[in-house]
């Protein structure tokens, strides 16, 4: 499919031209070889990776071995999984046994985890082929992938622009045809915003739906793993594989993965779609125009659009930028030069700690560690962290109120289409505003996704965000499928 209308960029973006659903079916029935699929991706990587820099590491040899094995299994008549031969890129903050996992940070450069993340195991069990580890803002802190210690990723649709972030490498890898699908992590919009900027479908599942085990933590109460795909059906299938209870994650929801592929054809007849009347301002007109078009499309398909209020939405950003750094300051304290990763030698232990962490972390990470440490420290907890948690409650209450009137809410995913490099790097607050629409749902722990819907400035894709309540993935995917059909 083509998510944008009549631009050359879109065609190039999906040069592989195959979906997860198609590949899995064709490889499993022997009509397509997993090796051929992989070689197509590797050829695209050879052609454009030096320009895009989607990857921190391409695992071509391992991938070839794996693809060859899958083809052999198919030949031998063995049962292959639901993702047989599907090439997948993994954000480089997910642990892969024996394969470097860096979080795009110098402090973890060269570290090879001795275990696999749960999502990695689940994908592997279903026959996926891992192409490599993708670039990100260091420790997932950023909205443009400019904060990587290994250099930025470029938007394959326009390499003068950012791919969004922090999962920019995962978005770029799919948009550039380097992989059929990818996984990202979303703490405040880090899947949905790059999906929007790269013209992809990106899902932030309900908190607890996908195991965090093996995901290097940023904001533990906010982080969720989700897929990037070119179609809604692909995202649904990916979710069915990666979601579901994991006993290794105490915050994992007890229920099995939701069956979503069956939802896609149900349409939106009778559904109530919320429009936030007191939405934060600052979105560009092209983005708002596509949002209106999306409402129209759903109305035309039989949905009702209802007004809802989110008076505390504005405060989401404020609460998020204390809650996430507070958790991060604690989560990142383990990078101390003792057990793994970088050590800068020094005469005594405390000097070693200070020098290692100073050399290992980039500016944005340091800034958030400082902010988070401050917000939790004696004398400041109640004024900052404690208050932020109360704001978090207000936001959840606003959503609860809104969902008494509607089944899902539409907003822009990002206030603008992909922006140029350096546009927001000098001003952290301006960068943080990229996530104004995506953050509240992380605070509430609800489901959300971005689907491409038309284009805006410079022919670049616009993403529409669908918000749904906790465990609202089924209605959310119905809306997403409808928007995709309306393209």
């Amino acid at each position: 499919m083509s998510p944008t209308q009549g631009t050359g960029r879109a065609d190039r973006a999906h040069s592989a031209g195959r979906t997860v659903v198609d590949i899995a079916a064709a490889v499993a029935n022997g009509s397509l070889s997993a090796v051929a699929v992989l070689e197509e991706n590797l050829a695209a990587i050879a052609a454009r990776e030096s320009e895009v820099h989607a990857f921190n590491l391409v695992t071509a040899d391992r991938a070839r071995e794996r693809a060859t094995q899958i083809d052999a299994d198919v030949q031998a008549g063995k049962k292959v999984g639901r993702l047989a031969g599907v090439t997948i890129a993994l954000k480089d903050n997910m642990c892969t046994r024996g394969v470097e996992t860096t979080c795009s940070s110098k402090i973890l450069a060269g570290w090879k985890p001795p275990y696999d993340a749960t999502v990695v195991r689940r994908l592997a069990d279903e026959g996926a082929v891992f192409v490599g580890k993708t670039n990100l803002d260091e420790f997932a802190m950023g909205s443009s992938t400019e904060n990587s210690a290994f250099g930025p990723t470029r938007n394959p649709l326009d390499t003068s622009r950012v791919p969004g972030g922090s999962s920019g490498g995962s978005a770029a890898a799919v948009a550039a045809g380097f992989a059929t699908a990818s996984l990202g992590s979303d703490t405040g919009g880090s899947i949905r915003q790059p999906a929007a900027l790269c013209g992809l479908v990106g899902v932030k599942p309900t908190y607890g739906m996908v195991s965090r085990q093996g995901l290097v933590a940023f904001g533990s109460s906010l982080d969720q793993i989700g897929p990037f795909t070119t179609t809604v059906a692909d995202a649904a299938l990916m979710m069915e594989v990666i979601a579901g209870h994991d006993p290794l994650d105490s915050t994992s929801l007890p229920q099995p993965a939701p069956m979503l592929t069956g939802e896609l054809s149900k349409g939106v007849q009778g559904m109530r779609i919320g429009r936030i009347t007191d939405m934060p301002e600052g979105s560009s007109p092209d983005v708002l125009a596509q949002l209106e078009a999306a409402f129209d499309a759903l109305r035309a398909a039989g949905a009702t659009v209802v007004d809802v209020q989110m008076p505390s939405m504005l405060y989401g950003l404020t609460a998020y930028y204390l809650v996430a750094p507070a958790e991060a300051s604690s989560n990142l304290a383990r990078f101390d030069g003792v057990r793994y990763g970088l050590r800068v030698d020094a005469k005594d232990l405390n000097s070693m700690y200070g020098a290692t962490r100073a050399a290992g972390f980039g500016d944005e990470v340091k800034r958030r560690i400082m902010l988070g440490t401050y917000a939790l420290s004696a004398g400041y907890y109640d004024a900052y962290y404690g208050k932020a948690l109360k704001v978090r409650r207000l936001i959840a209450d606003d959503f609860a109120q809104a969902y008494t009137k509607c089944d899902a809410i539409l907003t822009p995913t990002s206030p603008t289409v992909a922006f140029k490099f350096g546009d927001k790097t000098s001003n952290p607050l301006a960068m943080y505003l990229c996530d104004v629409f995506t953050i509240p749902t992380n605070l509430a722990g609800h489901a959300a996704m971005s689907v491409p819907f038309g284009t805006g400035e410079a022919g670049l894709p616009v993403g529409v965000q669908i918000l749904a309540p906790a465990l609202g993935e089924a209605p959310m995917f119905r809306v997403a499928a409808e928007l995709e059909r309306a393209q």
Partner: protein, 100 residues
């Protein structure tokens, strides 16, 4: 709302976080943190007195595991990726200024 953040506070926080900052970084950090915290004053407009903090988005309780042993990681593999190891242990520089 507490005082605006000072250089001294930034230095103290940096010590708590075990993050060596040079003078220029302390200066820059002081300004940027002040900017962030200033932004947080928006929240002062809200009446939060009767609001329960929300720490975990989805309420679960009593998530428990059976007391069954699983194999250990391989010590050599783990120590092999450590910055320094000796005698089957992780090695660190002398511990100064701590209690025993």
């Amino acid at each position: 709302m507490p005082e605006p953040i000072s250089r001294e506070t930034v230095q103290k926080v940096a010590r708590l976080a075990r993050l060596d900052l040079n003078d220029a970084e302390v200066e820059r950090m002081t300004q940027q943190l002040a900017g962030m915290l200033e932004h947080f004053r928006d929240v002062d407009a809200l009446d939060l007195s009767n609001v329960e903090p929300l720490t975990q988005p989805i309420p679960l309780s009593n998530v428990l595991r059976d007391d069954v042993v699983a194999p250990s990681l391989d010590r050599d593999e783990v120590l092999g990726s450590a910055p320094a190891a000796q005698d089957g242990r992780f090695r660190v520089p002398p511990i100064v200024g701590f209690e025993e």
